[in-house]
Symmetry: D2
Subunit: 347 residues, 4 copies
């Protein structure tokens, strides 16, 4: 059954395979009459293409977004916004070595079992290239959220075993650079954790009892390739805490009700309480290695799968705009849902 759409009031549907004609999406339910900066949307896409120590090699190609519908003279019209990024031509023969092999910890085997067929070119639909459409859709959601002064910021908080303060100096620390160079030299990869903070959120967003705001954020994050865990507020640490230290005490600060601490992560009973929302997302190491790996093929024979091509050492830098995009889609969806049931919280 269809599973390529996300959201209830604001719905993003994505399509496209890694090495098919194009990757794209349709964003339906986007508010009309908003000014759209396509340069901003393109900038968000470009954030998915960083260079540096995290990557095996720079990628020359550009992912150029094209708008197919939904805008008129620079504004949204209420019609669905469709967009695509054409894939660059590649020789089909480049992927013959992927045709029958089940790569370790990829979706090759499970997809084949489910559908009885798969597009093996570069991972097909299960490639992370699909997230291009999420970043584009999320960029539109951000444009809407900015009109309400809601801001979303993701940052790296862990690379392998290294905890990071993601300020200007964070991931440029010599020991981390050195660590990544070593991983890269071995043809290996490493996992990481991304933190995300959402500021400017009015109290009242989130729909009890199943569509709690953090439940929808969690699903959004877990739907991103390579994500293994999600926690918000005190998270897994909260399991070790006592109620007397975990409870966030309410105070009246010059007429505004606030909490002194924020173990709730800005969400209580599934509804935003006006404090900053924050959560953390765990990513596994990239499964594609520049090493030979023993695996099986579709006939069940043991084969050696050779790593080749160009792959990331660690996915988290590229995942930053993806985390933000999915968070933006959730927040915009809930803003629209809440406004529908009443205009008490949001105008």
């Amino acid at each position: 059954m269809s599973g390529n759409s996300f959201g209830k009031a604001l719905v993003l549907t994505t399509f496209g395979e890694s090495h098919g004609v194009a990757v794209g999406g349709v964003l339906d339910g986007f508010p009309a009459n908003l000014e759209i900066s396509l340069a901003f949307v393109q900038d968000e896409l470009d954030r998915r293409r960083p260079g540096g120590a995290f990557f095996s090699s720079p990628r020359p190609e550009e992912d150029k977004l094209e708008i197919l519908s939904g805008l008129f003279e620079g504004k949204s019209t209420g019609a669905p916004i469709a967009f695509i990024v054409f894939n660059h031509q590649q020789k089909p023969s480049d992927y013959d070595h992927l045709r029958d092999v089940f790569r370790p910890s990829h979706a090759d085997y499970s997809w084949q079992q489910k559908y009885g067929i798969r597009d093996p070119r570069g991972g097909g639909r299960s490639s992370a290239r699909e997230t291009l459409a999420r970043v584009a859709g999320g960029a539109f959601a951000k444009i809407f959220l900015l009109t309400k002064n809601i801001h979303i910021k993701a940052s790296i908080s862990q690379i392998g075993q290294f905890q990071i303060q993601d300020d200007a100096s964070g991931i440029d620390q010599p020991e981390i650079i050195s660590f990544l160079e070593q991983i890269k030299a071995g043809g290996d990869t490493i996992g990481g954790v991304i933190s995300c903070t959402i500021t400017g959120v009015p109290a009242g967003l989130g729909e009890p009892v199943f569509d709690k705001l953090h439940a929808d954020l969690g699903k959004a994050m877990l739907s991103i390739n390579a994500v293994k865990g999600f926690e918000y507020g005190s998270g897994f640490n909260g399991a070790s805490m006592r109620g007397s230290e975990h409870n966030d005490r309410f105070v009246n600060e010059k007429g505004v009700i606030k909490t002194l601490t924020n173990n709730s992560g800005g969400i209580q009973g599934g509804i935003s309480n006006g404090a900053d929302i924050f959560f953390r997302v765990a990513f596994k190491p990239v499964s594609t290695l520049m090493q030979d790996q023993v695996t099986v093929n579709a006939s069940g024979d043991s084969v050696i799968f050779q790593g080749k091509g160009r792959h990331d050492v660690c996915v988290v830098p590229r995942a930053l705009p993806i985390v933000e995009a999915m968070a933006a889609l959730v927040m915009a969806d809930h803003l629209i849902r809440n406004r529908g049931e009443s205009n008490r919280v949001t105008k």
Copy 2:
């Protein structure tokens, strides 16, 4: 906008407040012609009412399930299955002290901001009593899954800082009992972690790209009261691992393709691969304390909220059947969805 339904093909809608007339649910899309043991469903509800060191006091009342529709002569008919548990009478005056106060780390404040009104009796709709309907709905889902030999088992793996092997001896360890007695004596509470394993799952369940099997499991768990985090397979530990140690190597074991390790947690690319599915769920400490707490009321005045009544020291034992129920709803939903798109995996 409506948020009280869960699932796409098999949909559970719950209703009811903690101290209203009743708590109940409607399960729509349940397969017809299955034998239903109502004793099993009632047993699942009874699992939500454990005694022992985890609780302040035993609760005398029984939660008796009544079926309103959807069964005929002991079998499901394809019509929606509706059920209720009537609440036991209580004096409305028992809740006057909750009327205007915003209890710390409860949903009182955020709910009031969202709706401008709330039912203050025992937490109203945001009470964990709502999960009765989830356990009942999940029990029906389990009955369906058992016809496919799919089994779900949750166990306690952490109480406070204590890691637990949840076998017969696990949570009966003297040091843990002693720890809980101490927490209880102080009128305090403590968090914990539940692990859950699903066995007998065929390869092929889960819908790319947004309705990945673990994304739906994650949302299901995060929608349970007091949950702060979710991880599957290697989880947050995966963030510290190298690809070469994290990748699950495929082997052909007498004609069956398996993986030697299971960092994937039984799910690859969002689709089950036939291995056991396992995940962990973090619960914060119960927010209701038997201590006085300073907070504010609806007028913004600082007030002291007195702990009284009967409350749990730790929620995880009662949450075991809830975790299993939500997992069962997700698995049954995906079985039906997958069978719709093809009968390749499941008959």
Copy 3:
């Protein structure tokens, strides 16, 4: 797959069989903080129980609505509103004659083919008694619509071949009474047509391109038992008209843009234009006759099905509140949806 819910933002889920424990519903997404007159809701239910020439005999029992959740001190709280009407006790043996027979033009055969099982007592789930829950749900929707000055009025416009002006004198005409008495005396039944007008609708409701306002109204009406057709505005007559006579000419009437005619039925391009919405709904004659009918049973044997009990001669008087209720649910759903995407039209 689940099909017992209606609406996207305001969702009514119904449950219950004709002679099971109860018939009821859950209304989710209803705006919070509205004053609810339960007397009004009960009055709407009572409108389903008319007497007179249309019916074989008056029905003594009352359908008493009970609220299970969602209200507090006379107001909606934002939580799902659940309600039930308990069925009056009947001897199961009263329905033994229905157990294996496939009654002509009922759902007995098709339901059995679909599910392999059915509740034969009084038609089970396919009985028109299910519409009790629609009328109750629709009554809540009407309460919301009245706060926006939107009014819905259904009336009888045809009984058999008789066209009717449904004013005070309409269906009391001697020739129609005489006609119905004659139908009743023969143990037969007759069809009819209901017209419905919605006034006070702001321009702007309806969601292109699939959820056009009239498409959702049409589905709502066609989902009512015994409905065979739906038309709005010029309807089937429009097929015989020329564009030059069908087009509704816009004029500026003291600053308000209106149309001189209303062949559009108040909806253009699927969106309300501010004019009155009107549509017509065709009902077939009731399938249960007080005549012997030859049919087949589950074994495929030819059998005579004897009409007995108490049945309506014509369904349309009882269907008036049902038509209004379904229309109210559609309008309320679209008001909420529209308010979500912008508060341009409705506050």
Copy 4:
């Protein structure tokens, strides 16, 4: 809120404006591993472009379908199938005369009231050109249905006041041709009725109580531009009939249970009964006339709108493949839904 998707298990999302970059769609939930004849899909699109007496002039341009995703080596893969038809270049100035005027019986005024903005070029999103995407999506659905031997055939049964038997001679009758030439010469348009028959349908499709098979067919048809009414089986005529003549009598014909008549139109209680499904759809006359019409503009001034360009005299010939496509989407959706809940009816 989003309204540009249709279906629950098999979902078509369409996008694009009449004179934007492209019109297209995404079909999600389509069964994997089916052979796809793109020539068949293109043929269906070409059926939307007939010539002859119904039209003002032949249209030279071709609507060429391009596949963006979801197929691999000629087969469906389970991934969403995305397709587009690029629009041919036109000068923006060609549409300046539409910019501020509200054309009679178009969506100009209601769209402007809803969104506060619209794309005026050729009707923008409300143009019938959007149905290109429906025909393409429906062609895929037909390919799936053909594997189950389900066939869908629409035909013209009325043009203006002329009833038609749509065989080879039907709409070529001299008097109809002459009538159309006369309408065309006057710059006028005329309405019509399309009938549709679906054969080979197994008993058991349709989901009580809201997603009745005919309710979903009705919504599908009413969502097509210019449709004013829908009826199935006996339809509006059924309102004049007695139960004794309307009831379809079951008989056992050599072991197969059938009905002697088919006033039910192949659907009883919202579920297919194995007989042919048939329904009728009323279309209003095309609103664009080759006549001057008095209307108002966005400033509320009275203006004369001049008919110019190239427009259809009667829409029904072009609507035939659209009616079939929407019917195919409904039938395929219900096949998949039914197969999900059990594989009793369909394998």
